[in-house]
Point group: C2
């Protein structure tokens, strides 16, 4: 990861001087580097096998992710990201639009440094899907007739696709069999869906300090995620209408009250079940490959997400 | 060009259904298709030689251009583009940010359909430069200590770069010699600079109906272009201070008065001279290639721009 960070910052030298500082800021702002980790683990052939190609592909995927964060924060009018001001707040949203573009195009430029067009093709296709997912989510914002399958389609595009391509490219560059590459890709997709559902849960039940951003932003911006979907389903009609009004922005948001209702109706458990089901699907697609080097490492990520979820303050929080 | 339009619309089938309509809208909104024309003319080997590869590369370049327009219009808070509402107005600026991203990534995805990474590499590098130019312009907005060389650097990045790469890729795919490819690229760059200076002139002296957008937007948004730069230089100190205040947004903009002063101080002629000088440079770089098939066609573009400029209402307009 240190190698990746050094490489990422080195990449920024390609930017015009005025923009380098801004790009640097974004690279610093990120945090967990989950997607690069997926690249490394999927391509892992044992100690000392993180090739420069894997580092490069990890940087490509992370730069695409950073670009989408910069653009997301503009739309969400988010103030904070990983406990720092967002690029949109720091540089203004006009500059942030373009900064995101510059990060995107640099990522794709870096992708062309591979001998074939495969990396660039996979990354640009994924990027388009990520944007499509975000657009659909944005268009649906403040609309309350979203179904579970709409929700899944959106998170499949906006989150799972980049997880999928990280595993695809990692295992591909790691030189694994086509069959493993295919299964690792599916693993990434399931993990991505699980991760996004977890993230949506944390928006209601997390700890602000720990996750580094304001809670309740999904409710405040009229974004319907799984906890809200299930809450709507379980509330009695009168209270349900109130919640709909709130999502439509016709009543002030009452985060505390909503979390209280979620506790009462055991929403945390229902959402956590969905995360666990998705993690089981992720584990299942690798069941034929328990002897392949990356498999135990990838499975550990599922474990880690289970622990992270267990650590959320859950029912006791409000 | 009809072939290109058909191809562009066909490309949009790759988009998710929700986004197709939005993308279609943008493709329709565009107009002059100057960059595709540069690709075709630079790659021209005679009647019937517009290969599918040239059409594809023209589409890539045009999609990148469309994406930058979508993002520019967000930042400029522009209402109209080619006599229609901008995508930002039509779909909201949040969706427009992402729509631009989706167009970008689709353009780069299309660029990966060539056998080597060359097209993708050239296009992603150019895209990064175009964004850099736009960022620098945005950061400088409302600042009045811009020099002529700052102005040239900005337009070189934001406009000339994509003209350059259009000629580069066109002549390359057309199979011309490395030396011609290099000169054609330089031609594109000079033509791009000339075109942008002309466009900045038209923002003060154009005819709204003819150019399909509101005049005076550069002044209104505090963007200092060549006509304003020269005007600042030539105004007596007191009036100059007034103009600076206006650019800083501390006084209301007085477009009519500014155009009157420009007429008085012969700014139109000075800017037109700059355009003509750049066109001469463009013509000069092709002087060793007068027998190469694309040369007379490319030179005709210089002539066309001279005529377009001569048709501006110039001094008589205010």
């Amino acid at each position: 990861m240190a190698q990746l960070d050094a490489f990422l910052h080195l990449q920024l030298d390609a930017f015009e001087p005025e923009i380098r500082g801004m790009a640097d800021y974004c690279v610093d702002t990120t945090g967990k580097r989950i997607r690069p980790a997926l690249v490394f683990l999927s391509g892992w052939r044992g100690e000392g096998t993180i090739s420069p190609d894997l580092v490069r592909v990890a940087a490509v995927v992370e730069l695409v992710h950073l670009a989408t964060l910069v653009h997301d924060d503009i739309m969400d009018e988010a103030e904070m990201r990983r406990s720092r001001r967002t690029a949109a707040r720091e540089f203004g949203s006009a500059a942030a639009v373009l900064l995101g573009d510059a990060l995107f195009s640099h990522a794709l430029n870096l992708a062309t440094s591979f001998p074939t067009t495969e990396v660039c093709q996979a990354v640009s296709e994924s990027t388009r899907k990520v944007c499509a997912g975000e657009i659909i989510q944005t268009l649906r914002r403040g609309s309350t007739n979203i179904t579970l399958s709409d929700y899944r389609r959106i998170i499949d595009l906006k989150t799972a696709e980049l997880f999928r391509v990280s595993c695809f490219l990692g295992s591909r560059i790691g030189g694994f069999s086509d069959r493993f590459v295919q299964q690792a890709s599916q693993f990434g997709r399931h993990l991505g869906i699980a991760y996004q559902i977890y993230d949506d849960l944390a928006d209601f039940f997390g700890n602000e300090k720990q996750i580094g951003k304001t809670l309740g932003t999904d409710l405040a911006s009229g974004k319907i995620t799984l906890p809200l979907l299930i809450l709507m389903e379980r509330l009695p009609p009168a209270q349900r209408t109130e919640l709909v009004e709130e999502i439509l922005g016709r009543r002030p948001h009452q985060l505390g009250e909503r979390v209280r209702q979620m506790n009462e109706l055991r929403i945390f458990e229902a959402v956590a079940d969905a995360v666990r089901a998705e993690l089981r699907s992720a584990e299942a697609v690798l069941s034929d490959f328990s002897d392949t080097t990356p498999t135990p490492l990838l499975l550990r990520l599922c474990e880690a997400l289970r622990h992270q979820m267990a650590a959320l303050p859950a029912v006791g929080s409000s």
